[in-house]
């Protein structure tokens, strides 16, 4: 993988206030995919990498989760 791509991932991870471990994992997986050692068609391996990435992402306090601008879904009403 080109150094420009690696550096771009590292700086995007840093800009998102995430740990360098996330960049390392992303780079390692993308390199494996690029050189054909792994494939996105391999469901088990892809799920394992995705679960690991999700696990590595740090989330803010739960209070901040509601600051999203998404509109509401058609949630059912809670029983009284």
């Amino acid at each position: 993988m080109e150094p420009e791509i690696r550096q771009s991932i590292e700086s995007a991870v840093e800009a998102a206030d995430q740990k360098p471990a996330l960049a390392r994992k992303l780079i390692a997986w993308c390199e494996s995919l690029s050189d054909g050692r792994e494939s996105l068609e391999d469901r088990d391996s892809t799920l394992r990498h995705l679960a690991d990435l999700y696990e590595t992402v740090a989330v803010p306090d739960s209070e901040d989760l509601s600051s999203s601008s998404d509109v509401d879904s058609s949630e059912e009403l809670d029983p009284v």
Binding site: M1, E2, E4, I5, Q7, S8, I9, S11, A12, V13, A15, A16, Q18, L22, L26, W29, C30, L33, S34, D35, G36, R37, S39, L40, T46, L47, L50, A51, L53, Y54, V57, V59, P60, S62, L65, S66, S67, S68, D70, V71, D72, S73, E75, E76, D78, P79, V80
Partner: protein
């Protein structure tokens, strides 16, 4: 793993171009780094390039209908089949891609041959080659002036896509797509995935927690009040009784009458127990039940229940070879025995009926009225005992009443105790509501603590669910943002770097020309101008593509149609000097008029010993044919001649190209 892709050669049979087979392999040294394929106008150069693009791109163009396919048929040929085959070397491994034409059907199909899996119908090159062997990408390395122009044309995205393909930026795009799919899989079936759901659920949990605290607090306060009143009542009662029994004569009378009342109550309890036990016998409730039970027993006696079970007997008999009468049992007889065995009682049923019979005999006397009379007598005795017990209790109360009447402090004490008892009853009524199982009211109107606890548990589970969902969504958004930003930044940085290097090459190619690439925004953007001359465009394209191909670890061939023809003679020498540095394999289709101002500097730059010269021409010019047949390295087919060698190449000239 880095891909090293080379074109080992190709062949065409029964197609519009002369039949030919070219081979670029160099004994023991891979392929020739430079190959010049001279095909005069009318030889089928454009056809060969088109076939190369389709064979490498793996997809038949939409325009290739039956009529178009038939246009590839050799003029005047009776053959109904035609073949175009390209042999590639992928890191030294041979990959053969074949286009098979059926001119009768007007069809064309792919076959792929790999050393590992043999020949397969369809286009199935190794996975590592697929991102290069696509129509769009093939146009970058099987290249002509038209495609060079597209690199600079607004609306065409091949310059940017070339960067994305070569530098694997599309891997980041694919990962971003999978990140989104993963989230969808994880939250599938969740009822709420948005933030308003979170606020509502969090509010409800807080409300229920508050309500539970409030109810438990109130319950505790009331329970404590009740315990306090109860203690007070007990203390008052103890003092009252002490005061009441302070006088010996009074105490003795009250104790005596109380003892008599307790004994009477005990007799009532004992007799009531006997009455209840007797009432479990139906015969005691009415002589008519006794009659019916005896009649049932007599009925059982009359039917003479068997001692052994008949059903099992017949079922076992059906398994025997022959009947008890000696007759052999065939399958039909066995089926009949099994079917009819169901009409007879089984051992468990017989045991139950015999048990009923013996119980009736035991519980019902021969005198059917006996049990009823006995019960009536006991009920009358119980009635008398109750009356007696009530009288004795009244007498005991009267003794106490007469003692209290003469002592006002005892009277007051009793009134106070009655007040306390009433307060306790009121508190008990208030406390009962906390045990209510009524689940129909809203949270604020529900007092059942267990109900509120259950609602809180449900609400906490829902809150946990949506919190997890929203955390996952937040992570998805963060990962997507990171990947999208990575792609944007990488594209910009790579674009800038490639522009800078390409501009250095352009400056070397055209030192007196100020044309420069400004940026890559979908297409190549030229600095301070919209476009260039044909020569400038081609030079810019060469510079861009050579920079691109040289920057990656992958090595691709570069096939160019007329590399120098549209270029000014002044620039030809510079382009010729650049070509050996473009890639490790450069194949150029040329015509004789291109040699001027191009071939000498090319040979000077590459070294004549590193160039393969191939001339292919259609039969018809007898002088050229005769000259060609004198060449040692030649191949002749029904309609064409292929000659390898520098001298023939340089001397070749057709009137039509004059």
């Amino acid at each position: 793993m880095a891909v090293e892709l080379r074109i080992a050669g190709w062949k065409a049979e029964n197609l519009r171009c002369p039949d030919h087979q070219v081979n670029f392999e160099r004994s023991g040294q891979g392929v020739w780094p430079l190959a010049l394929v001279q095909m005069p106008n009318g030889t089928g150069k454009t056809t060969t390039l088109d076939l190369l693009r389709v064979a490498l791109g793996g997809r038949l163009p939409e325009s290739w209908n039956a009529q178009r396919v038939r246009q590839f048929r050799k003029k005047g040929s009776p053959e109904s089949k035609g073949v175009f085959e390209v042999v590639l070397l992928q890191n030294g491994r041979r990959v053969t891609l074949r286009l098979s034409f059926d001119f009768d059907e007007g069809s064309c199909r792919f076959t792929t041959t790999l050393p590992s899996s043999g020949q397969k119908v369809g286009f199935s090159p190794p996975a590592e080659l697929r991102r290069f062997l696509r129509p769009d990408f093939v146009n970058l390395f099987v290249f002509d002036g038209e495609l060079a122009e597209r690199l600079l044309q607004q609306g065409h995205t091949n310059a940017e896509e070339a960067i994305e393909d070569l530098f694997q930026l599309k891997v980041l795009k694919s990962v971003a797509a999978r990140v989104g799919e993963y989230w969808e899989q994880q939250v599938e079936g969740q009822s709420a995935t948005e933030s308003r759901g979170l606020s509502r659920r969090r509010n409800r949990v807080q409300l229920l927690r508050g309500r539970l605290l409030e109810l438990r607090g109130e319950q505790r306060r009331l329970s404590e009040a009740r315990a306090r009143l109860d203690g007070e009542l007990q203390a008052r009662r103890t003092k009252y009784e002490d005061d009441l029994h302070a006088q010996d004569s009074v105490r003795d009378r009250i104790f005596a009458s109380a003892e008599a009342a307790r004994e009477a109550e005990a007799r009532v309890q004992s007799t009531a127990g006997q009455v209840l036990r007797d009432m479990t016998n139906p015969a005691a409730l009415s002589w008519r039940f006794a009659n019916a039970m005896i009649e049932l027993k007599n009925g059982f006696d009359r039917v003479q229940l068997p001692e052994t079970a008949a059903r099992e007997f017949f079922e076992e008999l059906a398994e025997e070879e022959s009947c008890v009468c000696g007759r052999p049992l065939d399958p039909e007889s066995r089926d009949a025995l099994r079917a009819r065995a169901g009409r007879y009682l089984g051992s468990e049923e017989v045991a139950l009926l015999n048990s009923i019979k013996s119980d009736v005999a035991l519980l019902v006397s021969a005198d059917h009225h006996f049990h009823e009379r006995q019960l009536v007598d006991k009920l009358e005795a119980l009635d008398r005992l109750i009356t007696d017990a009530e009288r004795l209790k009244t007498e005991r109360d009267a003794e106490e009443e007469s003692a209290v009447r003469v002592r006002p402090e005892l009277q007051r004490a009793r009134e106070e105790m009655a007040g306390l008892e009433e307060s306790i009853r009121a508190l008990d009524r208030d406390l009962e509501k906390f045990d209510s199982a009524d689940d129909s009211a809203g949270d604020q109107s529900t007092f059942g603590i267990k109900i509120i606890e259950r609602r809180l548990k449900d609400a906490e589970e829902k809150l946990a669910q949506i919190t997890n969902t929203l955390q996952l969504r937040w992570k998805r958004d963060a990962l997507r943002t990171i990947l999208e930003e990575s792609i944007r930044t990488a594209r910009r940085r790579l674009g800038e770097e490639i522009c800078r290097e390409a501009n250095e090459r352009i400056a070397a190619l055209m030192p007196n020309n100020s044309i420069k690439i400004d940026s890559v925004r979908q297409c190549l953007q030229l600095k301070d101008q919209d476009g260039g001359s044909v020569g400038e465009t081609l030079s810019v394209a060469y510079a861009f593509l050579s920079t691109l191909f040289n920057r990656t670890e992958h090595q691709l061939p570069f096939v160019v149609d007329s590399p120098a023809n549209p270029i000014d003679l002044r620039v030809r020498a510079s382009v010729a000097a650049l070509i050996p540095k473009l890639t490790r394999q450069f194949i150029a289709f040329t015509i004789s008029s291109e040699r001027d101002g191009f071939l000498d500097p090319l040979e000077a730059s590459a070294g004549a010993g590193h160039i393969k010269y191939v001339t292919i021409f259609r039969k018809g010019d007898r002088v050229q044919e005769a000259t060609a047949r004198r060449e040692p390295q030649r191949a002749e087919t029904s309609d064409g001649l292929l000659v390898e060698g520098r001298d023939f190449f340089r001397g070749f000239h057709l009137e039509s190209e004059g």
